[in-house]
Structures are given as structure tokens and as C-alpha cells.
């Protein structure tokens, strides 16, 4: 009876402590988790593989430090794939924090892979997230809409921007976001100009993306951290996506165990005879 009572009254601080411990242990000593590649993740890979070399990609950044654990590895994986294929890309940040964080990731990956700013990639600099207002103008004239990169240099003068005029010179848009920005990209860009879009949302946003995915409006999706892990596996490197997926699974298992324990305690306490003080 004491055990049952204890199961029903586990202090939330103990549960938080266990959760913290699970995540720390599984991040420190990652367990290799078999990740099967889903149709949605393969769609992203295929979309990047299909970009013609004369076109650029746009990496749209809407995330900030609060969702960096999920959106950071997604950003890194997509950038690595673009660099690997030799596709030039531009970062288009819609968040002040994300602008700095995504640039840091691009600088780290470009240094590792021997790529040069302005030639292989560039950063168009932070723009306020008025996507519905900015995207129609961007589609018609990219240099006139963007004008300057994050360093204040004219984007027309960047070598990678030579020949890039309209959205027809863009082979892919990767929308990496914890917000509802996909609607703007679909309605203002994909729906009008048929520019391929891939989507990298946080895990909680995944269900709502299946409609555009099934309708072919987005070519693929990286569902949160596991999506990044699957993509890393396809690119043959181990990043935070794979390491973090193990920790995520561990924390989910712990939560399931705690729910089971709580329910076992509740059911057992109801079955106790009234003279033992059981029942409702």
C-alpha cells in the first residue's frame, strides 16, 4: 500500500530530475538508434538533389534560440547537403536571433567544407517577418527587394548572385521554422511560380504539414529532431540530430513509464477495500 501511495504522489521535482538525468546521460553517452528514413525526409533529399546547378537555394530561417535544439540540426543538415552538391544558397532570416544563429552554423559548416562567403553562400540579412508583403516583391526582383546583405554590401556585387534576378532563378526554398510561415511560401511562391519548397518544422507542427505534403505543395519535410537525424544518416555524418534523437526517445520512454506507474497506482488504489481506506 505504501508503494501504491508513493506511485500516486511522486513529487514533480523528482520527475523533472529524472527527465534531466535521462537527457544528460543520453546526450553524453549517445545510444545508436536505428532511424528508418521516411517518405517525407527522402522527399527533402531528392528535392536538394534535383536543384539545377545554375539556380540558387533560399534557406528561410524563422527560428530563434528557443527551438534551436530542433531547427539548428535541420539547418545544418540542409546546408551540408547544399554545400556537398555545390549549390549556392542564401540565408533569409526572419528572426533577429535566428539571423545570428543560422549565420554561425553556415560559417562553421562552410569553414569545414572549404566554402567561401559570397561565392558559395551569402546571408541576405534579417528582414521583419512580413512574409506576405515581402515575398511577392522578392519573387519578381530579388536584388531590388533584398538590396544589401547582412554586412551592408550590395547583393548584386556578390559573385554567387550573378544572374539571379527573379524567383525563377531559385531551385529550392527550405523553410526552417517553428511558426506558421509555410502558408506564405506556398500561397505567394509555390502556388504562383511552382518553386519547389521543403519544410523543416518543429515536431509539434508536423501533423498540419501533411495536407500540403500530400497535395504536392511541399516536396518533403524534416519532422523535428528525428527528421534531422534521418537526414544526417542519409548524408553519412553524425550530428546533433542523431545524438539528440536518442535522448528524445529516452525521455519519451521515461514519460511513458511514469504514466504507466501513475495509472497502476490509481487503479490499484481504487481496488482496495473500503475498510482499508481505498476507493473514491
Amino acid at each position: 500500500m505504501i508503494i501504491l501511495r508513493a506511485l500516486l504522489n511522486i513529487d514533480r521535482r523528482i520527475m523533472y530530475g529524472l527527465l534531466c538525468l535521462t537527457i544528460v546521460v543520453m546526450l553524453k553517452w549517445p545510444v545508436k538508434q536505428p532511424l528508418s528514413t521516411t517518405h517525407a525526409v527522402k522527399g527533402v533529399y531528392d528535392a536538394v538533389e534535383a536543384i539545377p546547378h545554375d539556380k540558387i537555394a533560399i534557406v528561410s530561417i524563422v527560428w530563434s534560440s528557443s527551438t534551436m535544439a530542433e531547427n539548428g540540426p535541420q539547418t545544418e543538415a540542409i546546408m551540408r547537403h547544399l554545400f556537398k552538391r555545390g549549390i549556392r544558397f542564401a540565408i533569409l532570416p526572419w528572426d533577429q536571433q535566428g539571423a545570428t544563429l543560422a549565420k554561425d552554423i553556415a560559417e562553421k559548416v562552410s569553414a569545414e567544407m572549404g566554402k567561401t562567403y559570397g561565392v558559395d553562400w551569402c546571408d541576405w540579412g534579417y528582414r521583419p517577418a512580413y512574409l506576405y508583403q515581402i515575398l511577392p516583391a522578392l519573387a519578381k526582383d530579388i536584388p531590388a527587394t533584398i538590396k544589401k546583405d547582412y554586412r551592408g554590401e550590395d547583393v548584386r556585387k556578390l559573385p554567387m548572385m550573378r544572374g539571379v534576378k527573379t524567383i525563377h532563378d531559385v531551385g529550392l526554398v527550405a523553410d526552417i521554422t517553428p511558426s506558421g510561415t509555410l502558408d506564405a511560401w506556398i500561397s505567394q511562391i509555390q502556388g504562383v511560380y511552382k518553386t519547389p519548397i521543403v519544410f523543416a518544422p518543429t515536431l509539434v507542427m508536423v501533423p498540419e504539414a501533411y495536407n500540403p505534403l500530400d497535395a504536392g505543395q511541399i516536396k518533403g519535410m524534416l519532422p523535428g529532431l528525428p527528421g534531422a537525424g534521418q537526414y544526417e544518416q542519409m548524408l553519412n555524418y553524425v550530428g546533433f540530430g542523431q545524438k539528440g534523437s536518442g535522448a528524445l526517445s529516452g525521455s519519451f520512454i521515461l514519460i511513458i513509464v511514469l504514466i504507466i506507474l501513475g495509472n497502476v497506482g490509481l487503479v490499484a488504489s481504487r481496488r482496495r477495500r473500503p475498510e482499508d481506506g481505498g476507493g473514491d
Binding site: R12, R13, Y16, C20, H39, Q96, Q97, A99, T100, G125, Y126, R127, P128, Y132, Q133, K147, K148, Y150, G152, D183, A184, I186, S187, Q188, Q190, G191, V192, N211, P212, D214, A215, G216, Q217
Partner: protein, 180 residues
């Protein structure tokens, strides 16, 4: 000092980050001054960075510089349009704010109309799936889910139709019997 910062900046950043994270998560234990202090630091940092990024990457290069150094004086109208919003606080001149609000509502309505056509119509079209099964190249899970949706919808709809039919029959019988 520069040499010290160059050598240890990464370590300092990592330790500060770890300390800040622990401070924020300490709320899970209980409300405490340590958490409050770092909560305010975080809010201040985010606000400060937001203002800096907006001024340095948007307002200065794309508005102020163009207006003052590149001769595009007409950008002053953006400032005037922005200021019109603030007349909402004046009872006497609130009509000025209504002009700019109306203009923005008009823009948004137009964009929403376009968005419906380009975003939702293809999704509605894609939702019409053959019950008999797709070509072998299509995804099997989509067809299976479509069948499940269709059956669920029928199970949901049939009792409603049945209730509506019974309701109308009862109403007719009442009318015929002269019962109010």
C-alpha cells in the same frame, strides 16, 4: 585583455550559457531570485538584440540611408504612414488611424484571397482520392487513410441524416395532427 578574450571567449560563452540555462530551469524546483534575475537578463538581451538587428539591418540600410544618402526622399512617407497608426490614441484624430488601418486591411484581404486560391484549392483537389486504390506508384498509406476517413465520415454522417429525416417526419405528423 584582447589576448585573454581571444583565448577564452568560447569557454566564457559556454559557461555563461550553462549558468543561464540552469538558472532558467531552476523554476522547475521552485520560484527563486536566481530565476527572476536571469529571466530579466534574458528579456533584456532579447529586446536589445531585436532593436539592434532591426536598426542595423533594416531601418538604417534600407530606409534611413536611402532617404538621407541616396536621394530617395520619398521614403519619408513610410514614416508618416507608420505614425498614422498612433492616432488611434487620440479621440479627436482617430479617423487618421482608420485610413491606414483600412489600407492594411485591404492589402491583407487581397493577399488572403490570393492565398485561398493558391494554397487551399490544390489541397482540396488533392483530397479527392479514388476509393478503389491508386496506381501502384502512389503511396499506399494515403489510400489506406483515405478509406478510413471515408468510412469514418459515413459512420458520422448517417446517424445525422437519419435523425434529420426522423425529425422532419415527426414535425410533419405533428402539423397534420394539429399539435403545436
Amino acid at each position: 585583455m584582447d589576448a585573454f578574450l581571444q583565448r577564452y571567449s568560447l569557454q566564457i560563452i559556454v559557461w555563461l550559457g550553462a549558468l543561464s540555462t540552469l538558472a532558467i530551469f531552476s523554476i522547475l524546483y521552485k520560484e527563486n531570485a536566481f530565476y527572476r534575475l536571469f529571466e530579466h537578463i534574458f528579456i533584456g538581451l532579447a529586446t536589445g538584440q531585436g532593436i539592434f538587428m532591426t536598426v542595423s539591418q533594416v531601418l538604417h540600410p534600407l530606409w534611413w540611408k536611402r532617404m538621407t544618402a541616396e536621394g530617395q526622399w520619398y521614403w519619408v512617407f513610410a514614416f508618416l504612414a507608420g505614425m498614422m497608426f498612433y492616432f488611434v490614441y487620440s479621440r479627436k484624430y482617430a479617423w487618421i488611424s482608420r485610413i491606414i488601418f483600412g489600407a492594411f486591411m485591404g492589402f491583407t484581404a487581397g493577399l488572403t484571397f490570393k492565398a485561398f486560391a493558391t494554397q487551399y484549392v490544390p489541397q482540396i483537389a488533392a483530397s479527392f482520392k479514388p476509393l478503389g486504390g491508386p496506381p501502384s506508384s502512389a503511396r499506399p498509406d494515403v489510400t489506406a487513410m483515405t478509406v478510413v476517413y471515408a468510412v469514418s465520415f459515413l459512420v458520422f454522417l448517417l446517424p445525422l441524416v437519419w435523425a434529420a429525416v426522423l425529425g422532419s417526419k415527426a414535425a410533419r405528423l405533428k402539423r397534420e395532427a394539429g399539435i403545436r
